[in-house]
C-alpha cells in the first residue's frame, strides 16, 4: 500500500507572536520550526499502516528549501521518501492544492498510485480548512475530515470523526483522501538510528508552477488585546487564602 502525507513547516511561536516590519509574515529569526500536531499524527498513522500492511510512505511539503528539516523529521520516525515543492513565499490554498495535485499526477505517471493521502484537518498557521478537500475533488476521490480514528478493512476505510461528545462514523472505499486531527494516535519520538537513517533517504525536489493568489494576503496583524497587568495574589502556599477569596468573589464557590 502506498501512502502520501502532506505536511507544512510552521514556526513554533512561543509566548508571543512578533510580526515582520512588512506585516507579511511572522518574524521567525529567533524561532524554531515544526510539523503541525495534526499532520504529525498523519505521519505516525502512515508509518503504522505501512508497518502493518507493507508498502511505502511518502511525505510531501510545499515550502522553502529549509522545509527539508520537517521532511527529515518525518523520515526519522519511518517515512520512506520525500517530495519538496520549493517556493519562496506562502501560497494560497488553491495554488497549494493545485501544486499537490500536479505532484500526485507526476507520481502516478511514474508508477506510484497512492491508496491513501493524509492531510491535517487545518494548517496551524493559515487555517484555511480546505487544501485536502480541494485535492480530493481534483483527483476524484472521497474525502473524510477531522479523523480521530481510521481502520482499514478489505479495501475500505472506517473513519471516526469527533463531533461534540460523540463520534460520527464514515465508511469509504480506497483510494481516498483523509484529513486528521491530533489525538488520532500518540506519535513516537524519533530514535537516534532513525535520525541517522533519515539522512540517507531520498528527497525529490521540484519547483511548482505559481498561480496568482485568489485569496490575496494584504497584511497580518495581532488581535487587539487588553494589555492589563497580571495581579500577583501571593507567593507559595501562603497565597491560598487570597485564591479562595478570589474564587468566592467570582461566585464559583
Amino acid at each position: 500500500m502506498n501512502i502520501l502525507v502532506c505536511i507544512k513547516r510552521v514556526p513554533v511561536t512561543g509566548g508571543r507572536i512578533v510580526l515582520r516590519d512588512d506585516e507579511q509574515a511572522i518574524e521567525t529569526r529567533h524561532l524554531g520550526f515544526a510539523i503541525s500536531p495534526h499532520e504529525e499524527c498523519g505521519v505516525e498513522e502512515a508509518v503504522r499502516l505501512v508497518e502493518q500492511n507493507g508498502g511505502e510512505s511518502t511525505v510531501l511539503t510545499l515550502g522553502p528549501p529549509e522545509a527539508e528539516e520537517q521532511i527529515r523529521d518525518a523520515m526519522a520516525v519511518g517515512i520512506n521518501r520525500g517530495i519538496l515543492l520549493e517556493t519562496s513565499e506562502e501560497w494560497d490554498a488553491q495554488a497549494t492544492a493545485a501544486a499537490i495535485v500536479a505532484a500526485v499526477e507526476e507520481e502516478r505517471a511514474a508508477g506510484t498510485e497512492y491508496d491513501l493521502i493524509f492531510f491535517g484537518n487545518e494548517s496551524a498557521d493559515t487555517g484555511n480548512y480546505q487544501v485536502g478537500i480541494r485535492v480530493a475533488h481534483a483527483l476524484g476521490r472521497p474525502c473524510v475530515t477531522g479523523l480521530k480514528k481510521i481502520e482499514l478493512v478489505g479495501g475500505r476505510a472506517r473513519c471516526e470523526q469527533e463531533i461534540d461528545d460523540q463520534r460520527d462514523v464514515y465508511d469509504v472505499a480506497l483510494p481516498a483522501v483523509v484529513t486528521v486531527k491530533e489525538g488520532l494516535n500518540l506519535p513516537r519520538y524519533p530514535s537516534v538510528p532513525g535520525r541517522l537513517r533519515a539522512k540517507k533517504k531520498p528527497i525529490d525536489r521540484k519547483t511548482p508552477n505559481p498561480r496568482p493568489a485568489a485569496l490575496e494576503r494584504v497584511r497580518l496583524k495581532l488581535p487587539p488585546g487588553e494589555d492589563k497587568p497580571t495581579e500577583i495574589l501571593g507567593h507559595g502556599p501562603e497565597a491560598a487564602p487570597a485564591v479562595v477569596e478570589l474564587l468566592r468573589q467570582i461566585g464559583v464557590i
Binding site: 490575496e216 497580518l220 464559583v252
Partner: protein, 326 residues
C-alpha cells in the same frame, strides 16, 4: 442577485451560530445593496423560515432529498452549488464551524473559487475585503477575495446576532437537488457515544484546572485533580503533557485541543504558549500558578501565584476544605 446565507439547523431549529451568520450576512447584504436569502439543507428546514425572517431574510430556500438525512458534506455543497447556479448570489456566507468550513471547502473545490475561512469582518465589492482568523485566533489576516462569487465563513462568536428592525415573512422555495452516488459516498453511517456519563466536560466546565510540564509526571496531577474535584471542575492539560503520555489528548486545551470558556481557568505549570492560550481565550479569568515570576509578564494571565504547584494547590484545597467544601 442576492447574498446567500447557508444555515446549519436541526430539523429547522437554528442555534446561536446560525443567527450570527444571518446577522453577518444581513450586514454584508446591506452594504452590497442586495436582499438576503438563506438556504437550509435536510429534513424539516422550512421551520427555519420564522427565525430567518426575524433577521431580514426575504427568501428561504429549502433543499430536501432522501440522501440528505444523514450528514453528507459533498452532497450539501452540491445542493448549494445548484442553487448558486440559479440565484447567482454575489456571496455565500456560512458558519466557521468544523462542518461549515468543510462544506465551504467542497463549494470552493466545485466552483474553483477561493474560500476565506473564519472571517470576522467583510466588506463586499468586486474584490471583497475580509479580516480572517489565523493560528487559532492568535493572529489576524487582512485579505482580498477575488472571483465573481465570494465564499466566506464567519468565525464562531465573533459577530453579535442582531435581529432586523422589522421582521419579515420570507418566501419559501423548495427544491430537490440532483445528487450523484459520488456526492453521497461520504456520509455519516453511524454515531457512537464516547463519553460514558459522569465527569464534567472540559468544553462546558465552569472551572478548569490544568497542568503543564511543570506537573512533572502523571502522578504529579494528583493535586490538580483534587482541586478540580473540590471546585466541581474539569482537569485540562497542555500539549507538553499529552506528548509525554501523562494524560490523554482529550484533556488537552489549545489550538489543536479543546477550546474552553470557563468562569476561571487555573493554569498550573504552564508557560502560556500562544497555541495553548488559543484554547482558553474564552475563559473569563485566568490564574497562573508557576514557579517563574516572569509569568506576570504574560498578558493573558489575569492573576498569578508564584510558587511550586505541588505546594500551592494542596494549600488551596486545604483552605477550601476549611471553608466547608468537600
Amino acid at each position: 442577485m442576492a447574498v446567500l446565507a447557508l444555515l446549519e439547523h436541526d430539523n429547522g431549529a437554528i442555534g446561536d451560530v446560525a443567527t450570527q451568520v444571518l446577522s453577518f450576512g444581513a450586514a454584508y447584504a446591506a452594504a452590497a445593496g442586495l436582499p438576503l436569502h438563506a438556504v437550509v439543507i435536510g429534513p424539516g428546514g422550512e421551520a427555519a423560515a420564522e427565525p430567518a425572517g426575524r433577521f431580514g431574510v426575504t427568501t428561504l430556500h429549502v433543499a430536501e432529498h432522501e440522501g440528505l438525512v444523514a450528514y453528507a458534506p459533498q452532497a450539501i455543497a452540491r445542493g448549494v452549488a445548484e442553487l448558486i447556479g440559479r440565484l447567482s448570489p454575489v456571496a455565500v456566507i456560512g458558519a466557521g464551524s468544523e462542518r461549515g468550513n468543510e462544506v465551504f471547502a467542497h463549494l470552493g473545490a466545485i466552483t474553483d473559487l477561493p474560500f476565506a475561512a473564519n472571517c470576522i469582518e467583510a466588506a463586499p465589492g468586486e474584490v471583497a475585503q475580509v479580516t480572517r482568523v489565523r493560528w487559532g485566533g492568535s493572529l489576524l489576516e487582512e485579505a482580498r477575495v477575488h472571483g465573481a462569487l465570494k465564499l466566506l465563513t464567519l468565525a464562531p462568536h465573533s459577530f453579535e446576532a442582531r435581529p432586523a428592525a422589522a421582521a419579515a415573512q420570507p418566501a419559501v422555495e423548495r427544491f430537490t437537488p440532483v445528487l450523484s452516488d459520488v456526492d453521497l459516498a461520504v456520509r455519516v453511517v453511524e454515531r457512537v457515544q464516547t463519553q460514558t456519563g459522569g465527569g464534567v466536560s472540559l468544553a462546558s466546565a465552569k472551572v478548569v484546572v490544568s497542568g503543564g510540564r511543570g506537573a512533572g509526571s502523571a502522578e504529579g496531577f494528583a493535586p490538580i485533580e483534587e482541586l478540580a474535584g473540590l471546585l466541581g471542575g474539569a482537569v485540562g492539560c497542555s500539549r507538553a503533557v499529552t506528548i509525554a503520555g501523562w494524560r490523554s489528548h482529550t484533556d488537552q486545551v489549545g489550538q489543536t485541543g479543546t477550546k474552553i470558556a470557563p468562569e476561571i481557568y487555573i493554569a498550573c505549570g504552564i508557560s502560556g504558549a500562544t497555541q495553548h492560550m488559543a484554547g482558553c481565550k474564552g475563559a473569563k479569568r485566568i490564574l497562573a500558578v508557576n514557579t517563574d515570576p516572569e509569568v506576570a509578564n504574560t498578558a493573558d494571565f489575569d492573576y498569578a501565584v508564584i510558587g511550586d504547584l505541588h505546594q500551592v494547590l494542596p494549600a488551596i484545597s486545604a483552605e477550601l476544605r476549611k471553608a466547608g467544601l468537600k
